[in-house]
């Protein structure tokens, strides 16, 4: 299987997620009254996961718009491209979740430790966002104009919601220094993920078998 380019993309997105997290950390620093380095580091994993959430959704869409035509034009099989998209999303999700988990274990302080039990839910949540992005990417490729408009509206709504969540996250972490999720959230996210996969895979397969490369 030739999926190295997709794996590299996933790795690069992990780095971009860390960069976004650093920007949020800097913003957090500006809002603090004094320098509390352990406190600051303990919220870092939350921001990494937020960065991963943004890039998961974005890359799902971009994969179909940019990388799919390029890689197919360079001689990739459609089968590998299909696998590559899923692997890229998995690398991003696993990379950021593991990074967050390591930070939770290494950094002293309650906020980081409190995040550990939430990581399974975060993992499924990130994958879910990636699939949401993928479905939008499929929609932009195949749906008629009205469907494309709907996809653009959904992307805009997602971007708006992401921005709102970002500021809420910073506020919450600055004041409470912890987050909580309802019980059973992990299972619920996993169930939705299975449903999205059941829609995405046949749709993706149908697209790839008919896809015409245009650069």
């Amino acid at each position: 299987m030739k999926v190295r380019c997709w794996l590299r993309l996933g790795g690069e997105m992990v780095l971009w997620s860390v960069l976004v997290a650093l920007i949020f950390l800097a913003y957090n620093l500006l809002r603090m009254t004094g320098l509390d380095l352990p406190g600051l580091l303990s919220v870092f994993p939350y921001y990494i996961l937020f960065g991963a959430a943004v890039f998961s959704a974005l890359m799902g869409t971009t994969a179909y718009q940019t990388y799919l035509p390029v890689y197919l034009s360079l001689g990739s099989t459609r089968r590998d491209a299909m696998a590559g998209i899923h692997l890229m999303q998995l690398v991003l999700t696993v990379g950021c979740t593991v990074l967050a988990a390591l930070l939770c274990l290494l950094v002293p302080g309650d906020p980081a430790h409190d995040l550990l039990p939430l990581l399974p839910a975060a993992f499924f949540g990130l994958l879910l966002l990636a699939k949401f992005g993928s479905l939008l990417g499929c929609g932009l490729l195949t749906l008629p104009r009205a469907g494309k408009v709907l996809c653009v509206i959904l992307v805009s709504l997602f971007s708006g919601a992401a921005g709102f969540c970002a500021f809420t996250l910073v506020d919450t972490l600055t004041e409470q220094a912890t987050l909580s999720l309802p019980t059973g959230m992990t299972l619920a996210l996993a169930a939705v993920l299975v449903i999205l996969l059941a829609i995405e895979i046949p749709w993706q397969r149908r697209i790839l078998l008919r896809y015409e490369v245009k650069l």
Binding site: K2, P69, V70, S73, L74, G75, Y211, E212, V213, L215
Partner: protein
């Protein structure tokens, strides 16, 4: 000897048939010129041959192995597409260096040293996004990918579009050097026919989705002549011959004749017989009445 064989390829887009029952065999170790008018089906044919677009019907094989979804076979092919990274295009934001890096990953025989030399010779700016460079640089990028891929069968679609004359000369020279050194097969689709004619060992003409001819370039030009003179004399001199693209000015007439084996323009008529170049022959064979 390796053969890339298209059998009964048809490609349909809704109502339009872009390729109609195309049968074509490309032998290794040749430079082919693929010429045809806009919309003749050149890019579609190249796309189908390299499995970048699915065919509606028919098969493409390399040494008997299907090209479609066959990675070992795809590794031996390179179709460096014409890039049109307009602002709305998905690849507009991709940097040239990232595009070249992806190419290096996908082509098993990628020659990084050659790629570096071409980037330098064409003055490609790798840090720029594909959507931010001019047409000439996009062409240079496609040429770089095609040549550095070292693929056995390499296809180029309008490789010199947007290149200045010096860059075009450099491309033809580099192509010939590469061909002499490796014996790779190249298929070059172009509208700048006369300039490239000297490079083509064989020419494939495509008209309305069908192969009009596939023939050795020298052999084809040897049997093509233009006959001019008074209309009646030209008509009598070319009677029974394969005539194309007759044009009249007053009482004078000019007609392009494609002679078959053993045929010649008979003596004794007051007509002028001149050789034609590939571009003139192409116009004669593919030009529509009233446009030539």
């Amino acid at each position: 000897m390796h053969n890339l064989v298209c059998t009964n390829i048809t490609k349909r887009y809704k109502e339009k048939e872009a390729l109609r029952q195309v049968d074509l065999t490309l032998e290794s170790g040749k430079i082919y010129g693929l010429i045809g008018r806009n919309g003749a089906g050149k890019t579609t044919l190249l796309s189908v041959m390299t499995a970048q677009n699915p065919a509606t019907a028919g098969t493409v094989t390399l040494d008997g192995q299907p090209v479609w979804e066959n990675q070992p076979v795809l590794d031996r092919l390179c179709f460096s597409r014409e890039l049109s990274a307009s602002a709305g295009s998905g690849i507009a934001g991709m940097k040239i260096k990232d595009y070249l890096r992806a190419a290096a990953t996908y082509y098993p025989g990628w020659d990084q040293a050659l790629a570096g030399r071409l980037v330098s010779a064409f003055r490609i700016e790798p840090k720029k996004a594909l959507g931010k460079v001019n047409k000439g640089m996009l062409s240079a990028v496609t040429i770089t990918v095609a040549l550095a891929s070292k693929a056995e069968f390499t296809f180029l679609d309008e490789p010199v579009a947007g290149l200045d004359v010096i860059a075009r000369e450099f491309f033809y020279k580099t192509l010939l050097d590469e061909f002499a050194e490796t014996g790779r097969t190249f298929v070059i689709s172009t509208h700048i026919i006369e300039e490239a004619a000297g490079v083509f060992e064989e020419v494939i003409m495509l008209k309305d989705g069908r192969i009009l001819c596939k023939e050795n370039t020298v052999g084809l030009l040897d049997r093509a002549v233009q006959v001019t003179g008074l209309s009646e004399a030209v008509d009598r001199a070319t009677a029974g011959l394969e005539c194309h693209h007759a044009g009249t000015v007053g009482r004078s007439k000019a007609v392009t004749v494609l002679l078959r084996d053993g045929e010649r323009i008979p003596d004794g008529f007051d007509v002028t017989v001149q050789p034609v170049n590939l571009q003139q022959l192409f116009v004669a064979l593919c030009g529509e009445e009233g446009m030539g």
